[in-house]
Assembly symmetry: C2
Homo-oligomer: 343 residues x 2
DNA sequence: GTTAGCACTCTCAAGTGATGAGTGCTAACT
DNA sequence: AGTTAGCACTCATCACTTGAGAGTGCTAAC
């Protein structure tokens, strides 16, 4: 069976109306609301075909039709108005993102809020992965008698600091010396490499500061091996889900919110499967709790390198065109902000 | 009218049963479940008295009685078994808190989880307030051509760092010089003071680095004025509320969770009004969304100084004895951990 | 190929009545 | 005087029925 023009029109009508009202729509209503020039009976026949094609379904005998997952998929791929951001949305985003915020976490948290606000759905942002970064520089700053602050700058520019106990016997010059040795030997190396290859060298050169070195190495391990610490997840507008009629059931809300607390599974949702905008509809995603939901996601970059993902979660019945436009624009916006910030 | 022994017994029975079942309890059931040696009719008479005293109430004519806020209050103050932590709870807490965690945020987050888990309610922890701290030291570290990392150490030992753009013309010595001037002039001063009194001096001494100074001052403002950044709030087990029968209504859930997102109002809930354990029952607290809820809270300390609060939020119908015991114990535990950690 | 007509199905909301829990009151009992 | 049995009354809840409305599929006519 072929998808002729009229079938397409009818499917589009069904999807659009269902997205707007969340009510199954019947042939009579379609004929009334959408000017297709045919009678309800004709539409009924077409709908029977569409159902056979698996694009729409009936919740029960005497209800109207609703789109199936495949129906949404077809709609998104072939029927939908192309995603186009409205001037109003654009303005809001511009206004909100030009506020100068320095901390990257805050930028992302703010983006998350904005995204959920614009879509009235739940936003999910995968924070930038810290990236296993190699050793860059080390410095010691005087702090208090017997203590110094060890500052470690990773190769990717992230700065970490820790207070370390030093003996009273160590002078500023000694510290400088230790730092110099580390900086020379370790530049660009991972901790494992250092432990294997260079530690005895360092010990050799700095025999007297053995305790300080051990201390420093331990700190370096924890700081540079921070990769295990997973990317942070930012959720925004989780409450918006409660306004969706598909979550008027308390049990559903419970399971939904339970999953919201499991970062690992949320992460899977926005994990991009391909470049550009990802649209995952209903059962296409693997989490059974979200079989009634769709996710629009995309990745954001810094200096061309993909470092995180941004997504919107909503009921399958969402305004794909609008949400896709917003996610797309926000991704670019975020990429731009982060890139500019880094310059 | 006096509260004689029998009235007390009956009130206690009503509260205990209602806490356990969440169902209004009638005279017959009381006579059956609790061995008071009198007939339902007598209990009815007593209950009429208790109602007149405002300690219990009837949801509707033919339902049993439930405790009123005053009833709970009387129960907590006079009737309840004294809070006593069980060995089992104690063990769990010991086990969980001996895991060595270094970051204070993590300690608190973990405590929050533990607390909500033990009580099956929602835990609220007010993070340690950062305290307005004055300028301590400043350092510049070389980073990339044209950029340096400015490290600011506050008087309380908190370290902050930011990448700053410096011109190509500035040498390491220049930077050192700038830092020295700042360190000399500003030690222990607040930013406002500096702006008022010292800025022109600094400009005078460092005429050539005017742009860098402006830059630095701006950063200092944001870093040192961080007080405005409020104490962080840790919520745990918010989902537990969904298991409470009083929140089977979706509308209630919505308003509840909305308030959960408003830190300012949550803060009010646990803000201690007196030393030791605070018990706020139902309408006693000021937030109208929480008129059906009670809060048990207490403050935790470091080195004798109160730095935050810890609390449990649940329906008015909660197991006061148990929750009070747990909150009390956890407070001590947290105080101890933080104090030990600081040594 | 399209449409009108019609019987049929199914949900939903409103109405009904039985049931049961619980009360307050009265009068009898100890 | 305090306690209890008995009883009429109230009210929520549940199961059941019923009617209305929406929608369908089928058939026959256009």
């Amino acid at each position: 069976m072929e998808m002729d023009e009229r079938k397409k029109k009818i499917l589009r009508a069904i999807v659009q109306d269902y997205i707007a009202t969340a009510e199954p729509i019947g042939s009579r209503t379609i004929a009334r609301k959408f000017d297709l020039g045919v009678s309800p009976a004709t539409i009924r026949n077409e709908m029977a075909d569409l159902e056979e094609l698996g694009l729409i379904e009936q919740p029960h005998t005497s209800a109207g039709r609703i789109p199936s997952d495949s129906g949404y998929r077809y709609f998104v791929d072939c029927l939908m108005d192309p995603p186009r951001i409205t001037d109003e949305e654009k303005q809001v985003i511009e206004r909100e993102t030009t506020k100068r915020i320095s901390e990257i976490q805050e930028v992302i948290a703010h983006t998350s809020k904005l995204l959920s606000h614009l879509t009235s759905l739940t936003s999910i942002i995968l924070g930038p992965h810290k990236g296993k970064s190699a050793f860059g520089q080390m410095h010691f700053l005087p702090y208090q008698p017997g203590q110094a602050i060890m500052v470690i700058i990773k190769e990717n520019g992230v700065v970490d600091n820790h207070i370390v106990d030093i003996g009273d016997a160590i002078t500023a010059e000694d510290l400088q010396h230790v730092a110099n040795v580390f900086n020379n030997k370790m530049k660009g190396q991972s901790v494992d490499q250092v432990k294997k290859n260079l530690l005895h060298q360092i010990y050799g050169e700095l025999a007297r500061q053995r305790r300080l070195i051990d201390n420093a190495m331990e700190l370096l391990s924890t700081i540079l091996d921070e990769v295990e610490q997973p990317e942070k997840i930012y959720l925004g507008g989780t409450l918006n889900m409660l306004n969706q009629p598909e979550f008027k059931d308390l049990e559903k809300v419970k399971t939904l919110f339970k999953v919201f607390e499991e970062d690992e599974r949320i992460k899977k949702l926005v994990q991009p499967t391909q470049e550009g905008l990802n649209v995952t509809i209903g059962g296409e995603n693997t989490l059974k709790e979200f079989q009634d939901c769709s996710v629009i996601s995309a990745t954001y970059r810094v200096n061309g390198e993909t470092i995180g993902a941004i997504g919107v979660l909503g009921p399958t019945r969402m305004d794909y065109s609008k949400v896709m436009a917003v996610v797309d624009y926000m991704t670019r916006s975020l990429t731009e902000i982060l890139t500019r910030r880094r310059r």
